[in-house]
């Protein structure tokens, strides 16, 4: 236990819970390599951000590490072939996502040779940092703690802000999950090399590696690795085991005492947070030229041989379950992630993705269905447990009553959905589900307002156009009448003034008509301009009135609006838009909640993305 003596001060956050760890089951055996599966199914969306652009066709032969889809837009990540073989399909398939909706996937039929492309290691110590970060766009590396935010963006952010401290998230606070623990025990050297690369790329002065004190082996092994490098600016900080210490903002507070303001990214206060597995991927990429192809997955719960496996992305779940000795009889379904924040997999055939840190075979014995919810008795145990110092009991009332304005006032969007409140609730109220519901409703309302604004704007333009066209028509009418009048007057003159020569008469008509035309043009232009200006004024006034009314409905502050706008942009980009089902009005609240979950989950991931330092290594 000497390795656990802590020399740095720990700054505890309020709240937190101590769920049973259940980690020892999957740490009895070392990390095992999973043999090649019979097929690889790679969802295009394994990260937060835009769907990458497919660069291959069905039938193409691909090599291990070959780029299959390239990052598109600012926030996106590339997808690579995780083994050599042939592209057998590009189609929609069920992906590991709580929505249960199918999404575009590339299927590879492995040829069994596992043949690599030509690897291009980079000399990261001497190469230009900018170029190195730019090349990361091709690496497919995303935050492997579960947030799956593209890593090159997190390194880019530094260009403006100047990160002075890098925090390595190795807290791994969720029960059951041991992938980071085992990785640190077995590959601490590589991790530390990866940390050095991240530190170099960020230009960070120091590095703090936060590990919960329930992982003494990992902490010891990391300490040895750190001291072997002679990098004095790197330090292992053992933090007390308390869920959710692995949440990035909580971990930053634990090791530095810094509260990242709710509306700021960590980089804005000179901090960046990376998960241990992510920095290891950085090391593999720069040192060996290997893109992100695999990760460690804890396969645990109701299986015969719980263990951690190095799994190629796209490996179908049954292959992993079989490697862990198969699921025991009472297994009901599989959970991805931990028991506090994980979700039910929509199918037991889904592929393993970059976000899959843990798969738990669930059974009634492990996770008994909760008893029926009782009314809230306002005991405020949830408030005591909340690591964000929210008042979950108030948020619950507001969410239940669809009082979204109040929910916003009580900082609903600061909720990290860690589940600590539900965990301690004597009334068994599914609090987090209420919050997910309220968040998604608020986002939907805001979206509806934006759509209404847009429609109103369009309508105003349409009305202005109609008015303008009307004026133009009237003007043309007047023109024609004027021209006819002039012509007839001239004809009269022509008929009575026989002394005028025909040549001068022609000129006269021409000049008169021309002058009349010119004068009319001036008047017309002025009238038209006045009419358009008036129409625009009216449109502006109408919009101002509407804008004022809108504010009274939901008074979201600017940051949330901005966040929602970003989320919307991305949602549209990934084609999620069409999947939003407005809950039926006559449906019960539970049904509404269920319908909202898909949106909420996406919203949550996106919201974290917007903060750019999402929870790594829960």
């Amino acid at each position: 236990m000497n390795a656990l003596v802590n020399f740095s001060k720990i700054f505890k956050f309020n709240g937190g819970v101590h769920p049973p760890e259940n980690k020892t089951q999957s740490t009895q055996l070392p990390i095992a390599q999973l043999p090649l599966p019979e097929k690889i199914v790679l969802p295009l969306r394994q990260h937060v951000g835009n769907i990458p652009k497919i660069k291959v066709n069905v039938g193409d032969k691909v090599l291990k590490g070959q780029l299959l889809a390239e990052a598109e837009g600012a926030v996106s990540a590339a997808i690579h072939a995780t083994t050599s073989g042939a592209i057998s399909a590009i189609e929609d398939a069920i992906i590991p996502h709580p929505s249960g909706l199918p999404d575009r996937c590339i299927t590879i039929k492995p040829d069994g040779k596992d043949k690599w492309i030509e690897k291009k290691p980079q000399d990261w110590k001497s190469a230009d940092r900018k170029n190195l970060v730019a090349s990361l766009r091709l690496s497919g590396i995303v935050g492997l703690g579960g947030a799956t935010f593209p890593t090159h963006i997190k390194l880019l952010a530094n260009e403006k802000s100047g990160v002075h401290t890098l925090i390595i998230n190795a807290a791994e606070c969720e029960p059951y999950i041991t992938c980071d623990d085992m990785l640190m025990r077995e590959r601490a050297d590589e991790i530390v090399k990866g940390i050095a690369i991240a530190q170099h790329l960020l230009g960070a002065e120091r590095v703090l590696i936060g590990i919960e004190d329930n992982k003494p082996e990992a902490a010891a092994s990391m300490r040895v690795a750190v001291s072997a490098t002679n990098i004095t600016s790197m330090q292992v900080v053992v933090v007390p085991t308390l869920y959710p210490s692995g949440d990035a903002r909580r971990l930053v507070h634990l090791v530095l005492g810094t509260e990242i303001p709710f509306d700021k990214r960590s980089t804005e206060v000179g901090l960046q947070v990376f998960n241990v597995a992510t920095v290891l991927a950085l090391y593999r990429y720069f040192e060996f030229g290997e893109p992100s192809l695999s990760r460690i997955v804890s396969m645990t719960g109701n299986v015969n041989k719980p263990q951690n496996f190095e799994v190629l992305f796209g490996t179908p779940l049954p292959h992993l379950v079989a490697a862990a000795g198969g699921a025991k009889v009472a297994t009901t379904h599989f959970i991805m992630g931990g028991p506090m924040m994980g979700f039910d997999l929509p199918s037991d055939k889904v592929p393993i993705t970059k976000a899959t840190n843990c798969i738990i075979a669930a059974s009634i014995n492990l996770f008994a269905p909760p008893p029926a919810a009782m009314p809230c008795i306002r005991c405020a145990r949830c408030a005591d447990a909340c690591p964000v110092d929210l008042q979950p009991q108030e948020l619950y009332w507001f969410a239940k009553a669809d009082n979204f304005e109040k929910a916003n006032d009580y900082k609903l969007f600061d909720c990290i959905e860690c589940g600590a409140c539900s965990y301690v609730c004597p009334s068994n109220i599914p609090l987090v589900q209420y919050y997910r519901y309220a968040k998604s409703e608020i986002i939907a309302i805001d979206k509806a307002h934006e759509a209404a604004d847009l429609a109103r704007e369009r309508n105003d333009f349409r009305l202005a156009r109609i008015e303008r066209e009307k004026l133009e028509r009237a003007q043309k009418h007047a023109e024609r009448a004027q021209a006819a009048k002039t012509a007839s007057e001239s004809l009269k003159k022509d008929a009575t003034g026989l002394e005028h020569s025909s040549a001068s008469l022609k000129a006269n008509i021409h000049v008169d008509g021309g002058n009349a035309q010119n004068n009319d043009d001036e008047a017309q232009k002025l009238a038209k301009q006045a009419a358009i200006a008036a129409a625009i004024e009216r449109a502006k006034a109408a919009k101002a009135v509407a804008g004022g009314a809108q504010k009274n409905v939901v008074n979201t502050d600017e940051n949330i609006k901005k966040e929602i706008a970003e989320i919307d942009a991305r949602r549209q980009a990934v084609g999620l838009e069409t999947n939003i089902a407005k809950p039926a009005i006559d449906a019960g609240k539970q049904a509404k909640i269920a319908a909202a979950i898909e949106r909420a989950k996406a919203a949550k991931a996106m919201a974290e993305a917007a903060k750019q330092n999402g929870k790594e290594g829960s």
């Binding site: 979700f343 996770f367 029926a372 964000v388 008042q391």
Partner: protein, 339 residues
């Protein structure tokens, strides 16, 4: 589908309520020792009335009966009311009080979790206003009574209002210390000499103080079990001690000592069992301090200047009204936000 967390570790509402009942047991034992077994009859009547009223109301409101009967919250209301009213009161008194507490103060407001007022205190206040004579007529502690009533006698008296032929009513009742102090002070007696009367004990009321100490033990058990927090009891007792201490130090001839205020009347029961009702109380830590302080101040003012000997019930009801206001203005700072 996302329905995490899949695990929980919380005592159920039933468990929490049962622990509260358990914490009252030492007080009840002391009560029996001091005032006789009649309280058991009152407790039984109150419990039966509360459960029956709750069941009928749940049926009428088309709510499931079983889960709400077994949350035991109605039993707590019943017990608190039974312990608060005079022990030898006629049987219908506790029945009427419990009915009002459960039917009006609790179920008509929506049942468990929705009642803005502490049901037991509403029941008590209704009885005190409606039947002031009975509600202020306490039996003397057994050690002080000229004639001791047997359990059978008490039972008989509760149901028929008749005492054994040889016993006069004055022989078994006495003024409560708070009541006695108040009336004697209006007669311009000195507080110190008033408190020489035999009904005063070392801390509060003779006999009654043992019950109070037993309540204190039960309350500490609840705190140790994390059923209640420290904020409410500490703030209540501290503020009550402070305000009574200031008055006492300024003019000890007319004001009783802080010790008497803490251990006399219903102070301890209030601190650990009444203001700790989560449903009708505030939820924020700061709010709990304000709430308890408010109850302490109002209790003291009613005791000293009001028309009733003890002021706990009215103080609690008044502060219940203030709870939404208190909660709204005592929101803790959220992580990452400016104050």
């Amino acid at each position: 589908m996302n329905r995490s967390p899949y695990i929980s570790d919380a005592p159920s509402v039933s468990t929490m309520m049962l622990k509260v009942l358990l914490a009252l047991v030492p007080g009840i034992i002391a009560y029996i020792w001091v005032f006789g077994g009649g309280i058991l009859v009152t407790l039984a009547l109150a419990t039966a009335t509360a459960l029956a009223a709750e069941a009928v109301m749940l049926k009428l409101r088309k709510r499931p009966v079983q889960p709400f009967l077994t949350d035991y919250s109605a039993v707590i209301t019943a017990w608190l009311l039974a312990l608060a009213i005079p022990p030898l009161a006629p049987w219908w008194l506790i029945v009427v009080g419990t009915l009002f507490a459960i039917v009006v103060a609790k179920q008509l407001y929506g049942g468990l979790g929705y009642n803005p007022f502490n049901p037991a205190m509403i029941g008590y206040a209704v009885l005190l206003i409606s039947f002031p004579a009975i509600m202020t007529k306490w039996p003397a502690a057994l050690q002080l009574a000229q004639t001791q009533l047997s359990f059978a006698d008490q039972l008989h008296y509760i149901f028929s209002g008749l005492l054994p032929q040889s016993v006069q009513i004055d022989a078994v009742t006495s003024a409560t210390p708070l009541d006695y102090l108040k009336t004697q002070l209006t007669l311009k007696h000195d507080a110190a000499s008033i408190m020489q009367a035999p009904i005063f004990g070392a801390l509060g009321a003779k006999g009654g103080e043992y019950v109070t100490i037993a309540y204190l033990l039960g309350g500490l058990y609840l705190w140790q079990q994390k059923i209640i927090g420290w904020h409410l009891p500490t703030a209540f007792l501290a503020v009550l001690a402070l305000i009574s201490g200031v008055f006492w130090l300024a003019d000890s001839a007319h004001f009783a000592s802080p010790i008497f205020h803490l251990f006399g009347g219903a102070s301890i029961l209030c601190a650990f069992f009444i203001i700790t009702d989560p449903v009708s109380g505030p939820t924020t830590p700061k709010g709990k301090l304000w709430f308890a302080a408010g109850v302490a101040i109002i209790t003291y003012l009613i005791r000293v200047y009001g028309g009733y000997p003890d002021g706990v019930a009215f103080a609690v009801i008044f502060m219940n009204i203030c709870v939404p206001l208190i909660d709204a203005h005592t929101q803790p700072r959220v992580f990452g936000h400016e104050k």
